[in-house]
Amino acid sequence: MVITGVCLLAFLVVLCFFLGYMERKVAAFMEIRLGPNRVGPKGSMQIVADTVKLLFKEGLTPDGADKFLFNLAPFIVVITSMLVVAPIAYARDFQLWDINIGVLYVSSISSMAVIGILMAGWSSSNKYSLIGAMRSGAQIVSYELSIGLSLISIVILSGSLQLSEIIESQANGWWIFKGHIPVIISFVIFIIASTAEINRAPFDLTEAEQELTGGFHTEYAGMKFAMFLLSEYINLFVVSAIAATIFLGGWMPFHIGGLDAFNHIMDYIPSSIWFFGKTFLIIFIIMWFRWTFPRLRIDQLLNLEWKYLLPISMVNILLVTAMAIMGWHF
């Protein structure tokens, strides 16, 4: 147990390195430039160089800050995002902790991350940080509702909160195909709301460097700042992995009913490749958002949630429930 845990943590760090590199390359691709290309082959060691730089930087604590909370906040943020990784199924029969309330566990733990952000913003004793913290509080609390509702739609269809059972229920087809339009709607809502939940552009109002000069982590430097960065990438991975698991069948291969030969070929592709392929597709989509969209304003952000996403997902839940009762899905 302990060994697998340590392995998982090491894997997460490596994963974050890779995501950092991927983000730079995706950004460069979108912005018609090359991206990192000096350190290591094709710039792949750039992120290592950055980490080394951040490690050796002085972790300043401002004079007026509440030192205890200021230093605690990055740990809370990192720990919460690492806790969420536990129940994810990476491949067939490869799941660290198949908790029977997987979906609920994920949404409950991820709701804790906001406390770290609020703590960081408040304890920096910087007005920009405080505004950033307030924004993130309002933002995350409201978008959690939409995430929860869109997850519930699949829980209704599969009849279980357990991630492994949800994956099993997709053996004959992923929910996004089986569930017709209502599931596609909740998938889209999930992607939008989770982009907001993990504070990435166009919902990165909490950091909004052009408005708040960095928002809640304005005062952080060195390793403490790196921890916020680390948690951002872990969150990105977790959100994409959950979306892949719930809507796209996790490690389940792509099958078409009736085409046995095709299905057999699909089965030969290892299940972990299926899982990571889907996850990275969603990660790419979220990165794509970041490098093409301008940022929303805070009132627009809240309007989007309360006036559009939440009513739509509530009606959608009714549709999904009706569909589940009548058995209209495949």
Binding site: E31, I131, A208, L296, R297, Q300
Partner: protein
């Protein structure tokens, strides 16, 4: 400044200092903002972080030298600033530039305007959180700067204009290169629309934000695209033509909405007009001298002379008071950004912090022009 009398001291108000080091102010501008939640109640600009007292310096410099200090004011329309000074001196001396020089000046001025608006567009996206447009706009801006560099020798502070004409003739490649760039800009225009103009979030961020009425625009002395977006006709190129603008066909882009979206559209329209002006001129540069004969030491007659030009940001006025000597007795630059800045507190009343960033982006301030 911070010690002095403070207007934002109301009890219970949340005061933040935007700048002097802030990404959205594009330089060392310091705005003291009184907030109620995220809603802006008051803004007080504090200036002087890069004040170089150019007006005082000009009093020590000859009429050939003082022109070049103005490149450092609005460094994004350096050519046009130089042009204003040169025209003021020419007006006082009653010398006229040669036709070839005039055409070159207009070409350079419009290229500068185009490049300046490209930079504005780039930073506009950046300020609203979209990083990618920056690189697209810079692709074209760099090409323009390269053309300017080929002829003038520098990319930013060109110092190309002299009284009576321009400093040297254009590079042989100039016409060819300019046509190439224009073609490129036209081909890539749809990318601009796809990236920002057509984006719903972007439109929502600008529409109805930072409204400036026509009366206020006039009263605050706004000029350039900022005022034209409020329906004030103020294009100096149309109203008080200089250097042969009267012979060129172009429209003054007007919009009556007065919000940030209107300012955005006006600037986009101006880019198209600049392209059309360049196209009209590029094949019709008259042959002849590029410089009219002037004396080595220029002495202006006694009196005061005022010359205005249209820079990328509005009306730049050069006011020279001469006592008959070889240096200006008093030199005043009426800078467009200074007046436009004074309208920002009015525009941002009741807006959010994010709106203030959008407003500053659409007004397109260049701080060295304010802190002359």
């Amino acid at each position: 400044m911070l010690l002095g009398q403070d207007h934002i001291t109301e009890e219970g108000e949340f005061v933040i200092n935007m700048g002097p080091q802030h990404p959205a102010t594009h330089g060392v501008l310091h705005l003291k903002i009184g907030l109620d939640g995220e809603t802006i109640k008051k803004i007080e600009p504090h200036l002087g972080y890069i004040h170089r007292s150019i007006e005082k310096m000009c009093e020590q410099l000859s009429y050939r030298q003082f022109i070049f200090t103005t490149s450092r004011m609005d460094y994004l329309s350096a050519h046009i600033n130089n042009q204003a000074c040169v025209l003021a001196v020419e007006k006082a001396l009653q010398v006229e530039a040669t036709p070839r020089a005039k055409a070159i000046r207009v070409l350079m001025a419009e290229l500068t305007r185009l490049a300046s608006h490209q930079l504005w567009w780039a930073c506009m996206g950046l300020d609203l959180g979209a990083v990618t447009p920056f690189f697209y706009a810079f692709r074209e801006r760099e090409a323009i700067n390269t053309i300017i560099e080929e002829t003038c020798g520098t990319r930013l502070t060109q110092n190309y204009m002299v009284p009576g004409g321009v400093m040297m003739d254009i590079h042989p490649n100039f016409q060819k290169r300019v046509k190439e760039v224009l073609k490129q800009i036209k081909e890539k225009a749809h990318e601009y629309d796809e990236l920002l103009t057509g984006n719903v979030i972007f439109q929502q961020r600008l529409k109805g934000v930072g409204y400036l009425s026509k009366e206020d625009a006039v009263s605050y002395g706004c000029s350039g695209p900022t005022a034209r977006a409020s329906g004030v006709s103020c294009d100096v190129r149309k109203l008080f033509p200089y250097d042969g603008y009267e012979q060129l066909k172009f429209d003054e882009i007007l919009n009556t909405e007065g919000d940030s979206w209107a300012r955005y559209l006006v600037r986009l329209g101006e880019m198209k007009q600049s392209i059309s002006i360049i196209e009209q001129l590029i094949d019709n540069i008259p042959e002849g001298d590029f410089q009219a004969k002037t004396k080595n030491v220029i002495k202006l007659p006694k009196g005061d002379f005022y010359q205005r030009v249209e820079t990328a940001r509005g009306e730049l006025g050069v006011y020279i008071v001469s006592d008959g000597g070889a240096t200006p007795y008093r030199c005043k630059f009426r800078s467009p950004n200074f007046s436009n800045l004074s309208a920002i507190p009015k525009m941002a009343e009741g807006a959010k912090i994010g709106d203030l960033v959008a407003i500053m982006a659409t007004v397109d301030l260049v701080i060295p022009d304010i802190d002359r």
